[in-house]
Every structure is written in structure tokens, then in C-alpha cells.
Symmetry: C2
Subunit: 203 residues, 2 copies
């Protein structure tokens, strides 16, 4: 009697959302993962259809035009988005779906699926977020400052989220997400199907 | 940063709520249990202050008059009720509280604590509920029929509850309650205290 739900996980940069979602996928294989479309090339180890659907810019633009995206965003050098069909297909099959998106994407998805369960992930403190961003050796000071400013704005958007998971310890944060997913699966059923079956065959 | 919540667990007769709550108390010792007041004498093995506060009818009536109860009910041969002070003391100390009450009591508590998390427990089917009620050898056919009629009415009140836990397997039902308690502890904090601490010491 599972009631399939859409779970939207979002976070400011530096919260460790991607690692957390990857871990969650291993722990709850019954929950489907909404694979995003992106126009950037695969990074080493990334698998088509597993990490992303890698598509051309032409294809992506055509999908935007056809209204196929629940949310999409333009990054510095590429586009990424979540297709409505990806999410809806899993829900129609009775599976929970997990979408790992940025804060702007989360707001777009919530507008389209008001029943979506929204989860915000943060590090234990802003100081720790700064430390994590600084430890990425690959960015210039300007890029780091830009990410930090963006993180501050994203944290301001927190009130739109229903749940808050603090990613201090990865095991604990993963367990928090699992509790949320399992508990939401126990919400009182709104359709009468369950109760019709419940009373069936009763003398 | 736990946000203490009141969890109200209710069920029709025959759902196995008492066994389930007893098990839950063992599994989540950090959650306080709201011990009810009752005017009936202790049954063998029942401990004062642990299972119930056993009080005289005079004392119970005085508590009703003083408005000390969040909910109370009159049974065939005794009164039982939940004191507001019991619940509020635990919440003030920052602990989750679990109240195990009947459906009418759940409605009274929800009216006083609109933030209370309400959970309804049912057996897998009405046929199974009948089987469980019939297996109690201690009741007359009239008493059984009365319990059955009451259970049917109580199940009609289901829409007031936020969660539904099916008590087929005791381990699974206990785990369901644990998921609900832990997930509700992760609700986005409404007070700003958490965020003040979050941004503290950030450069």
C-alpha cells in the first residue's frame, strides 16, 4: 500500500548533497532516482542513464521548447534539467522518486508537484561550509567567493523546505533521509482503495 | 537541535496498540512516555508511575474540576486520563513525548496541541481485527460485539490522523513508528535559534 511520493533533495554548495544522494541510492534501492539531463560531457566514471542523460544542446533546447522539463537551469558552461516524464513514469509505477536539484530547481518542482516532499541539506555550520568550499583546490578565489555568496542566498530559501538534514556525519545524514522517506510512505492514505480492501471479506 | 514533539498513538480495539507502544518504549528510550492517570486498581505486574498513576476517584474528580486533563474518558468501571502537566513537563525539557490514547482522547489532545503528530494503528484487515478480538477468551459474546461495533466507529475517525501504521508484523510496525518519530524530529526548525547558531563565528 505504498503511496509513491516525490522527494526533492536540495542544498547550498558545500553541503555534500551529491555524496549523500549517491549513498542513499545504495541504501534504498527501492527508491527510484530521477536522472537529470545535461549538456555537459561526462566526467570520468560517469555513466549515461545512471548519473545523467548526456544530450546535445540542440536536443536540450528542443526539450525546453516542448515543455518537457519540470525544472531546468543554465550554468556557466552547460544546461541541466529534470524531465517531467522521468519523474512521472516512476510514480505511475508506484515507486518513490528522489530528485537531487538546486534550490531554484526545488522551487520549480514544488510548484508542479505540490505533494513533493522537500528536504534541505546543510553542513553543521556556515564556518564548516566555508571550510569545505575552500578545501576544493580546483577553484580560484573569485570562484570560491561566488560560491559562498550563492550558498548564503540559497540558505535564505530554507523556509520553503519541509525537512532539514544536517550533514555532519554521512551515516547519520543518510539515516535521516531514510527515516523521512519511510515515514512519508506511512502518511494516511487519501484514496479509499486501502479501506475497501481493509473491510473486504469481513463478516 | 531536537524540536520536541508530542506523538499521539491511537487505534481501534484489537490493533495491538498497547503491545506496540510497550515495544516502542524499549526501542526509543530517549522518547518520554506520557503515563496516564486511572482510577482502576493495578493489574498484576503493573507498576505505579510506569504503567499508570493509580489514583482514587476523589483525586481524579478533583483533577477534572481543576482542568488538569488534556483528555479523559469514562470506561465501564473506571476513569482514565492524560494530564497536561505530564506532557508539558517532558516537552519543556526538550524531549519527545508519546501518548497512547483512544480515538476520542486523540481528538481532545489534537485540539489542545495542534502540532501533535497523530498516528493511527490498524491490523492488516478488519477480518484480522475480528479474529484478534475473538481470541480474547475472557469476554462474553455481547462484550465482543460491543467492542467490534466500537472498532468500526473508531476506524471511521481515521481521517483525523496524519499517519497510518499497519500492525501485521510487530517488528515492522515498531520500525514504522520509529521512522515517524525520527523524521518529525527533522522538520524545518521554525524558530531562528538554530540559524543564529549556524551562522555564528562565520567570517
Amino acid at each position: 500500500m505504498i503511496q509513491p511520493r516525490l522527494f526533492v533533495v536540495s542544498a547550498p554548495s558545500g553541503a555534500g548533497k551529491t555524496t549523500l544522494c549517491r549513498r542513499l541510492r545504495q541504501e534504498v534501492p527501492d527508491v527510484a532516482y530521477s536522472v537529470s539531463f545535461t549538456t555537459r560531457p561526462p566526467r570520468p566514471g560517469e555513466v549515461e542513464g545512471m548519473d545523467y542523460h548526456f544530450v546535445s544542446l540542440d536536443r536540450f533546447e528542443a526539450m525546453i521548447e516542448a515543455g518537457e522539463f519540470l525544472e531546468w537551469a543554465h550554468f556557466i558552461d552547460h544546461f541541466s534539467g529534470t524531465a517531467r516524464k522521468t519523474v512521472q513514469t516512476h510514480l505511475d509505477r508506484g515507486r518513490h522518486v528522489l530528485a537531487d536539484v538546486d534550490v531554484v530547481g526545488a522551487r520549480q518542482i514544488k510548484a508542479a508537484y505540490p505533494d513533493a516532499v522537500t528536504i534541505f541539506v546543510v553542513p553543521p555550520s556556515f564556518r564548516e561550509l566555508i571550510r569545505r568550499l575552500n578545501s576544493r583546490g580546483t577553484e580560484t578565489p573569485e570562484q570560491r567567493q561566488k560560491r559562498l555568496d550563492q550558498a548564503r542566498v540559497e540558505i535564505r530559501a530554507r523556509t520553503m523546505f519541509e525537512y532539514l538534514v544536517i550533514n555532519d556525519d554521512l551515516d547519520q545524514a543518510t539515516m535521516g533521509l531514510i527515516h523521512i522517506i519511510r515515514a512519508e510512505g506511512l502518511c494516511m492514505p487519501r484514496d479509499e482503495g486501502f479501506w475497501t480492501r481493509f473491510f473486504e471479506d469481513a463478516p
